[in-house]
Amino acid sequence: MAQVEIRNLGKVYPGKVRAVSGASADIADGEFIVLVGPSGCGKSTILRMIAGLEEVSEGDLFIGGDRVNDLEPGERDIAMVFQNYALYPHMTVRRNMEYGLRNEGLPKDQIAARIAEAARTLRLEEYLDRKPRQLSGGQRQRVAMGRAIVREPKAFLFDEPLSNLDAKLRTQLRAELRALHVRLGATFIYVTHDQVEAMSLADRIIVMNAGQIEQIGAPLELYQKPATRFVAEFIGTPAMNFVEARPVTAGLKIDLPEGASLPGPCAMVDQLAAPAHIGFRPEDLVLEPQDGAAGLRLDLQVMFAEQLGADTVIHARLAGQSDPVTIRVESAQNPAPGATMTAYAPNAALHVFDAATGQRL
């Protein structure tokens, strides 16, 4: 168990294709950190650099205080779980879990003890003598985790381990993973493209976009105070809504799309000097104006409503913009398509981002 530190990490593939640039982060001992982002954002590349499967082109990588840039994967004392499990198909479950330990030259009785312990933790005892092909997807992934656990590594690396499983199993294994982290108290570094997975598992999340780190923070921090428009859009379902705001005369009059208006004062928006995007979450919209709090008023035309049971998501159109607005309301609501409605976003729920840089204002 150890802390992992990346300093200005960069990866350039042959042919000058840049996958990652200037990534820095401190991952504390025992932390569950999740790297999240759309496909091709460089999250897997960072994980693979930490594992030693990709060479580090720029920057430094420390595991437990030692610079490991030039060490072989086997020498870094890490364990990795892959998306497609990567179990050795010709070996039994037991042999799969033993393999790394045998290569380390651990005495036989210690190997047996560790495997018994891991098999108990992961409820794999009755499968130890089976081959991977005789197991279900979820069981295979548990074997892959078992293979990692028995190594007792400094850090566990997970590369989208749940992506090949069906939704129900994914939820179940997610809970098991969380429990496993609590039990082992080890450093977990986990890559996923699924923001729900990231939110539910992580102590801290690293959001990546186009090879760069957008923001590092606790799940709620990212949700409540996204540092960039990208993070705001990426975290939370349904995604955050945006309207464009352009100051006509700096600090005096703000131009909003037709249908959107600011009935009262709003310090953040009123003082805009440059074009900006005003964001507000579907769940923050209310259908009645609240006393005192002015906020953003939206006159909408309903497109359709999704009744999800616990709540209803209304998709509506704002006259002056092509992007629809989604509103999350209680399940009793079921407006007919074509109906007009008015929604309000309180001042406190508005997020303002610079239109040019995407940075939070």
Binding site: G74, E75, I78, M80, N84, A86, Y88, P89, Y99, E104
Partner: protein, 282 residues
């Protein structure tokens, strides 16, 4: 299109049975002929059922020296053939599996050049390079030796290519998992790659064993010492025994004996062979 008509069924079966008959009749004749004395085969009608000389013929073939075949017992020839075929088979598999491992898993300069060079030699059969090869073997002093019989036939572009194709289907994550599990290149090869190639090796074993067993031209050129003659050469020599009548009962007996080892290999490895062709367990 599956039609279920009576006459069609009869017709297709008739065609198939005719085919089987044509295929099996020569083998039957060889079996029958090998159990008769020489005189029975040089007079009409040729016998179609077993004679009473089987035991004598085969024991003479296996242990006694036949003047018609250069005085070497067929047992010795079969041993020679077997050693050559096994040598070629194991050699080819060992060389090509290692070559494919290098080409697929290691980044060295001119890797693709080497691959295409190997691939090009697919187009050159033994016969094309037989004179230069003979020259090399002579200068190495390997005439009339098992090494001389085996080594020049060991390189195999086909097998290298097959192993390369197989290795390329093994997922990268497996290699990466092994690296994280501290398996070095040799360990990965021995513990993971070879066991996974098991069925491919079995399939190649059958094909290459038969290829080696049936070699004729190369042993003919490289050996002049009778004690190194192979069984395929032996049959040929018996047929062309000059002035005398061909000893058909012995020739057929030798042919039958020559069929036995390939049949054993095929039967023994058949299961793995089919698995190798059908299964893709990765």
């Amino acid at each position: 299109m599956v039609e279920n008509r009576f006459y069609l069924t009869v017709l297709t079966h008739a065609v198939l049975i005719t085919g089987v008959f044509f295929l099996c009749f020569p083998v039957w004749m060889a079996l029958v002929a090998s159990t008769h004395p020489a005189s029975a085969l040089s007079s009409t009608p040729i016998p179609l059922w077993f004679g009473d000389q089987g035991w004598e013929n085969y024991s003479q073939l296996l242990s006694g020296g036949l003047p018609e075949a250069g005085g070497v017992p067929v047992g010795q020839m079969m041993l020679n053939s077997g050693l050559m075929a096994l040598g070629i088979t194991f050699g080819k598999i060992a060389v090509s599996v290692l070559a494919a491992y290098a080409i697929v898993y290691f980044r060295f300069p001119f890797r693709m050049v080497f691959f295409w060079l190997i691939f090009l030699t697919l187009m050159l059969p033994v016969e094309v390079r037989i004179l230069p090869t003979y020259d090399v073997i002579t200068k190495l002093g390997m005439l009339n030796s098992y090494q001389g019989l085996i080594i020049p036939l060991i390189a195999s572009a086909t097998a290298t290519f097959l192993f390369r194709q197989f290795f390329m289907t093994i997922p990268d994550e497996l290699v990466e998992a092994a690296r994280i599990d501290r398996a070095g290149p040799l360990r990965f090869f021995w513990d993971i790659l070879l066991p996974l190639s098991r069925t491919n090796i079995a399939a190649l074993f059958i094909i290459l064993f038969i290829y080696g067993w049936n070699q004729y031209l190369w042993p003919l050129i490289i050996t002049s010492d009778e004690s190194l003659y192979t069984v395929v050469m032996g049959i040929q020599r018996m047929v062309n025994s000059g002035e005398q009548l061909p000893v058909w009962h012995y020739i057929m007996g030798t042919a039958v004996l020559a069929m036995v080892p390939p049949v054993i290999v095929v039967v023994a490895m058949q299961k793995l062979f089919v698995k190798g062709l059908v299964e893709s367990e990765k």
